[in-house]
Symmetry: C2
Subunit: 247 residues, 2 copies
């Protein structure tokens, strides 16, 4: 048996997210179909985590177990030949059998891109969120590092995940920064892990701060364990890209 | 009566080119539908020229005549509200009544992008042509300027246009250059006008030269009035963008 790790880039626009859903195109669904075809029997593909419908990736990581002795370079080519061009396997590596892309992940990096110009260029529209309305970007830059450190992110979880009892909502954020590049506000966050919708709600909180609707104390309050309510809103999926997963 | 000039950007991926075609989505079709709705009666929209299905634009120019007294800034916003996000009007200006975007055009600039890396990034795939096979890019750089000057481009016209008798196929090319930027070979051409498929066949000729299939003399021969045959092949539409039209 061989444990194979793959690094995957995708344009999430036309997919219903990472996770397999019967009858709907998903990244995991495509990976399982293609790897199973190469292996000649059903193969499960595990990801480092789900991405929502419309979210993109430059470096998602996944793994699967096969018996096929095909060299890794040929495997990469064979998979890419069978995948739609919106999904590309960038890298294929042999791992030890116990490698699990979710449990072994040490940190993940996401980027969120907001297009600030009045007109969103057609060729950028699928990869940004268009927000041409007034925002104090300086305030967003100031607030972004407030997320850094270990916090309870219960308020930043999607409703269905938030109600799940037991599982810890504490995550460690190593870096959380906003900067401006030409017509875009870019948010980059690196952390030990992320809850469903968490990054999109963090950006939603920063946008509310940029609108003047939330001050420093109110942003910090959302990170307190007892916070009643929902941080957010969750920003649109199109602006979000999973940049990398580190092990 | 007011003569209105608009500058338009579009992602050509999902359109059947510029020109109106019954029952198919085209840029001109969308512009006419939207401007007619604002005017309250049918309005024809003339472009600086057609772009093929799948070709993009950063600065296509078009014009139409309306009676509506709406200020140009509001007109731009009204048009953009009704257009799909893959088409954006960047600029609206009042012109003299005799302004015609095709007959008054002095020069046009196109760019063609070839992705050279083995894997084409999913987020670039719609805006480049993927050509990961061996090419001598230095030869392409050397050959590109051979197109500059006044030449008979009969060999670089689509079959249906080539057979049209009478119309001159002589065009003046002011600039024709190849350069490399990271993983892309970029071709830029600026000229008095272009025949159908002409830029894509010029790039096809340069790619053939880069493969070593055509030498300098054979490229020059294709520009001779008596050349029997077809320059080309025409490269895929996705790599081509109409950058600007000058008046």
């Amino acid at each position: 048996m061989r444990r194979i790790r793959v690094t995957i880039a995708y344009d999430g626009t036309e997919f219903h997210g990472w996770q397999v859903q019967p009858g709907l195109p998903t990244i995991q669904g495509w990976m399982e179909r293609v790897v199973s075809e190469i292996e000649g029997s059903p193969v499960l593909v595990h990801g480092s985590g789900r991405t929502d419908a419309g979210v993109h990736a430059l470096g998602q990581v996944a793994a699967f177990t096969i018996e096929n002795p095909i060299p890794v370079e040929n495997l990469r080519k064979a998979i890419n030949r069978l995948l739609p061009k919106a999904i590309r396997v960038l890298d294929v590596n042999e791992e030890t059998l116990e490698f699990h892309p979710r449990f072994k992940a040490k940190q993940k990096t996401y980027e969120y891109h907001i297009w600030r110009g009045e007109i969103c260029p057609p060729m950028r529209r699928l990869y940004v969120c268009h927000h041409p309305y007034p925002l104090d970007e300086g305030l967003m830059e100031l607030m972004a590092p407030l997320f850094e450190g270990e916090h309870d992110f219960s308020a930043f979880a999607a409703a269905d995940e938030k109600d799940a009892l037991g599982a810890s909502k504490v995550r460690n954020i190593y870096l959380s920064r906003v900067w401006i590049e030409k017509d875009e506000v870019i948010y980059q966050v690196c952390g030990s892990g992320f809850l469903k919708h968490m990054v999109r709600m963090m950006v939603g909180t920063l946008v509310e701060a940029g609108k003047g609707n939330l001050g420093r104390e109110e942003v910090l309050a959302r990170l307190e364990p007892g916070f009643e309510g929902k941080a957010g809103p969750a920003m649109p999926a199109s602006g979000l890209t999973l940049i990398s997963v580190e092990y």
